[in-house]
């Protein structure tokens, strides 16, 4: 075995777990990735799961990287192959020089004939069967055993696992000892049989500071609590559900009246997405902060109501946890492909504010900001998260809250202000020149401020009108408001050294984009911009103007952000080269480097011709 290539690295590897869903592997795999994190080594973990409940293949991909690269890298160094259904495919996919970990209770068939990889057999079934008799225990501990073996193989500090187990079962202490025993079983077996086989190590560092591991959806749910949302209407759909679960969990923790046990929140599972957003519109109209969350199919169904909210100027906070479309598509795969349907949702001339978080902390912050913007602008604001961000655990800075922060509830007239009004109040009158009129909440004042809200056309005083001029005034004012929005939304993050080439990315592409940039910059001078919101601020237009070639990284087929940029900023699309990943997996740095390098090479020879590069992640 000494003649073959051997992958060797410290704190830089990708480990893939191949499991069957519903088999309890998730918590074992999480135990592993959390241990890496607790060793002070940056880690990212991605769940690749099927759209069913039990019995189908599922993968868990852990990337360990001392440099803090947390995107998908591409390629697997170590395969924990414990799913018979996919074992051969998993075997084929391992990188040369990599390690194939399998349950050696059964001999590997002859078709497993690669000579360029290292086999690590551990008789998981045999070990489990000889130590446990209860079938449930067998299933659970089999997973823990392979984690123990990994601890040995990757030379990880065993105590971190022990500590994790203790924290995990702090409330069920009975379970601590058997779990540690299972870990030991694996560890010991590996030590005995596979000493010095694996050249990949994970050693303690102190690189994670005060960072946390969190799912984007949990952060968004927490953000809604901090933003003061009291009403949530929602309808289950993958991958949004955990947003609401988190919202409910944190509400139950922080929003239950101590004395009465009653709730300072109302969460209603609606009958469908139309009803969910209808509830939000009703609640926002009535002065509560309200939100809903959904994924692509829900956005399509909410489209009519989004147009109402735009035209009648009602705050709406909506989270779109994007998945692979169109239609039902791949419900458990990620994508950034709802940009156009969200930005221009609904018939007629409409435009909606979008926010693009890149990590859980931003999910939290942009949710809070989103509520402020929705109230300030009296319009729908859509948080464009995605399945990768929402449902995977990401390492990021801790959640922060400034106690001096005061909610921006926007231009709402209270009873006193209504009393003090000297001029006639008009619900749709632009008195401040920013396109944003003043609103009132039902029940505020016995005499003043009542108005009629409608999706049909209305004049400045909210009266129904079929006068084309009044209609045109209103629609034109909404463009003034749109201009105001540009000044209020989070600005793009720009990293510029006045290079000629610029790279633009947004959302979860950030992880891989940053890594790819680091690699590309070794040979090229490249500026970068991360877009955080739609509409675009001046800085976005300026960045594009300053570059003669722009690479625009997206996780969709049709270059939807490019459409938005070109359409809103009147940019010549010919300077934009789209780098598009559409296979439903998080985009990888490897793919980006290859694609961008290819174009740079081409450009070195002649003018750009082939503008689009569509392909899957490696």
């Amino acid at each position: 075995m000494t003649h073959i290539k051997t992958l060797s690295a410290t704190n830089d590897c990708v480990i893939r777990f191949a499991n069957v869903n519903g088999s309890g592997s998730a918590s074992a795999n999480n135990l592993f990735s959390k241990a890496v994190f607790r060793l002070g080594v940056p880690v990212s973990a991605k769940n690749i799961f099927p759209s069913n409940i039990q019995g189908l293949p599922t993968w868990f991909e852990v990337r360990v990287n001392e440099h803090g690269y947390l995107g998908r890298r591409g390629g697997y160094d170590f395969m924990v192959a414990v799913n018979g259904q996919t074992m051969h495919k998993d075997y084929q996919e391992l990188l040369p020089g990599g390690y194939f970990f399998y349950d050696s209770s059964k001999r590997l068939p002859d078709s497993y004939d690669r000579s360029d990889i290292h086999l690590i057999g551990v008789p998981l079934t045999d070990i489990t069967n000889s130590h446990y008799s209860d079938p449930r225990q067998r299933q659970i501990f089999k997973n823990i055993i392979y984690v123990g073996a990994l601890a040995y193989l990757l030379d990880m500090d065993f105590s971190v696992f022990e500590d994790s187990i203790k924290t995990m079962f702090a409330k069920k202490t009975k379970l601590i000892a058997p779990n540690i025993q299972a870990l030991r079983l694996g560890f010991d077996y590996a030590e005995e049989h596979h000493r010095d086989v694996c050249q990949l190590n994970i050693h303690r560092r102190d690189l994670n500071g005060d960072q946390i591991l969190m799912e984007g959806n949990a952060a968004a749910g927490l953000g809604a609590v901090y933003a003061g949302a009291t009403v949530a209407g929602w309808y289950p759909i993958t991958p949004l559900t955990s947003v609401i679960e988190a919202f409910e969990r944190y509400c139950r923790a922080y929003r239950v009246d101590q004395k009465s046990g009653r709730h300072k929140f109302a969460i209603l599972q609606a009958e469908d997405e139309l009803a969910a957003i209808g509830m939000v519109i009703g609640a926002s109209w009535n002065g509560a902060r309200a939100f809903t969350a959904t994924s692509g199919p829900g956005v399509s169904l909410m489209s009519e109501f989004l147009g109402l909210a735009y035209f009648a100027e009602i705050p709406v906070m909506l989270m779109d946890i994007q998945r692979t479309g169109p239609s039902t598509g791949m419900p458990t795969r990620t994508q950034q492909s709802d940009l156009i349907s969200a930005a221009y949702a609904s018939h007629g001339d409409t435009k909606h504010v979008l926010l693009f978080p890149s990590n859980p902390k931003e999910c939290f912050e942009m949710t809070v900001t989103g509520f402020d913007l929705a109230d300030r602008l009296q319009t729908p604001v859509i948080l464009m998260s995605d399945l990768d961000l929402g449902m995977n655990v990401h390492q990021c800075d801790p959640i922060e809250w400034d106690d001096n922060r005061v909610y921006d509830r926007g231009k709402v007239l209270d009873e006193q202000q209504l009393n003090d009004l000297s001029e006639r109040w008009g619900r749709y009158l632009d008195v401040d020149g920013d396109g944003i009129p003043y609103r009132t909440i039902p029940g505020t004042h016995p005499e003043k401020g009542a108005f009629f809200t409608r999706g049909s056309s209305h004049d400045e005083y909210a009266a129904y009108t079929e006068d084309g001029m009044a209609y045109a005034r209103g629609m034109t004012r909404l463009l003034v408001k749109w201009d105001t929005a540009k000044t209020l939304v989070p600005a793009a993050e720009i990293d510029s050294a006045k290079a000629d080439i610029g790279v633009i990315y947004y959302g979860t592409s950030a992880y891989s984009a940053q890594e790819a940039l680091d690699q590309l910059r070794r040979h090229h001078s490249i500026d970068a911009m991360r877009i955080k919101a739609f509409p675009f601020g001046e800085e976005v237009a300026a960045f594009i103007e300053q570059h003669s070639i722009i690479f625009l990284i997206e996780q969709n087929r049709d270059a939807q952000m490019k459409t938005l940029l070109v359409n809103e900023l009147t940019i010549d699309p010919n300077i934009i080269i789209s780098v598009l990943n559409i296979d439903g997996m998080p985009i990888t740095a490897e793919f980006l480097v290859t694609e961008i390098q290819y174009h740079l090479d081409q450009l070195a020879v002649h003018n750009p011709d082939n503008q689009q590069s569509t392909g899957g992640a490696a």
Binding site: G228, G278, P398, D403, I441, S456
Partner: protein, 350 residues
């Protein structure tokens, strides 16, 4: 159509106990067709709110789209109104109600709005027992889009186009009963004597109160062949549960001859006095109510009046256990956990 508002004023142009004149319960001029049943229902709503001394600004009136859904503009001008989108009044009302439990929610819809595009929302708002009054102005057709049959058009009934409906009608009262409405009534827009006390009772009902008001469309569905026309309805009414509404026990001054009436007490102490023909019914039995509707239907008649009343009805807020304060009145202090708890929360995530 009332381009020039008729000079006629309701005799009680005095002020009610809350200090409001009836004018303060009125709205903009109606743009509906002259004679449209919907205008009579608006008038009954105005009168009911006046009589009940409601503060107009503590009412929210919400509707979908249709001639019927336009009516909230024509009553309670001092109340906020919301003409939402077609068939979605229930969800908007649900959200509004969740935000502020302290207003009266008056939902207005049409038979197209509720029995077709909005049937799902209609069913689910009932299932949640939202605290609201839900009025369907039922003309068996799509007035605003010029008279197509709606799903409440009876099989065989023919409007202005003369083509009889081939499909069975959906009975919204039966649906409401089955889905758990706390109060179910059917009225005729032409009979304000029956309609007004029922609207009052619905307003006083806790939880979900449903009133299906047959309200002829004079322009498209008022032919002798239409079972939703004035003529047919007048000839086929079978009143049940005729009631008087008595806001307060102490005010019961009317002398009912013994055995001629029976009182039902609502959760706030106000009472419904059931007139003679209603007293045999067990108003609180869903099964009985179902049977009664079916039986009358078999006679090709329309059962009107209060059909069902659940004195123990609850509402959504109770079910999901929200605090007493309206959620939209909670301050940032009461809602935001603040930075303090974050230390622990972040620690849990490490």
């Amino acid at each position: 159509m009332t381009y020039v508002r008729p000079n006629f004023r309701h005799p009680e142009s005095h002020r009610n106990a809350a200090g409001y004149s009836i004018k303060q319960y009125e709205g903009a001029l109606s743009t509906l067709c002259a004679g449209c049943g919907h205008d009579s229902i608006s008038a009954a709503i105005i009168k009911s709110c006046f009589d009940l001394n409601l503060a107009p600004h503590k009412i929210a009136k919400i509707s979908g789209i249709g001639c019927s859904s336009k009516t909230p503009t024509y009553f309670l001008g001092k109340a906020h109104g919301f003409n939402s989108v077609h068939g979605r009044m229930p969800s908007v009302t649900t959200g509004a109600n969740m935000a502020n439990k302290d207003l009266l929610y008056l939902g207005v819809s049409g038979d197209g709005d509720s029995a077709s595009i909005g049937l799902g929302q209609f069913a689910h708002v009932i299932r949640r027992q939202l605290n609201m009054v839900y009025i369907v102005m039922n003309n068996g057709c799509y007035g605003l889009t010029k008279g197509q049959d709606s799903a409440t058009a009876d099989q065989g009934s023919a409007g202005k186009r003369g083509v009889a409906s081939v499909f069975d009608s959906i009975d919204l009262c039966q649906m409401a009963l089955q889905l758990g409405a706390g109060l179910v009534a059917r009225c005729f827009s032409g009979d304000k004597k029956q309609l007004i006390p029922i609207i009052k009772a619905a307003i006083k009902q806790r939880g979900f109160a449903f009133i299906d008001v047959i309200s002829p469309c004079v322009t498209f569905n008022n032919t002798p062949t239409s079972t939703k026309g004035y003529e047919w309805v007048r000839d086929h009414l079978e009143a049940s549960g005729t009631i008087d509404f008595i806001p307060d026990k102490t005010e019961i001054t009317v002398d009912y001859p013994p055995g001629s009436s029976r009182a039902v007490t609502l959760h706030d102490g106000s009472q419904l006095h059931l007139q003679k023909n209603a007293q045999d019914y067990d108003l609180a039995s869903r099964k009985a109510a179902m049977n009664r509707i079916e039986t009358v239907k078999e006679k090709h008649k329309i059962l009107t009046g209060l059909i069902y009343h659940n004195p123990d009805a609850t509402d959504t807020h109770e079910k999901i256990q929200t605090v007493d304060t309206a959620l939209n009145a909670l301050s940032q202090d009461q809602l935001c956990p603040g930075s303090e708890v974050l230390a622990e929360l972040n620690a849990q995530l490490r």
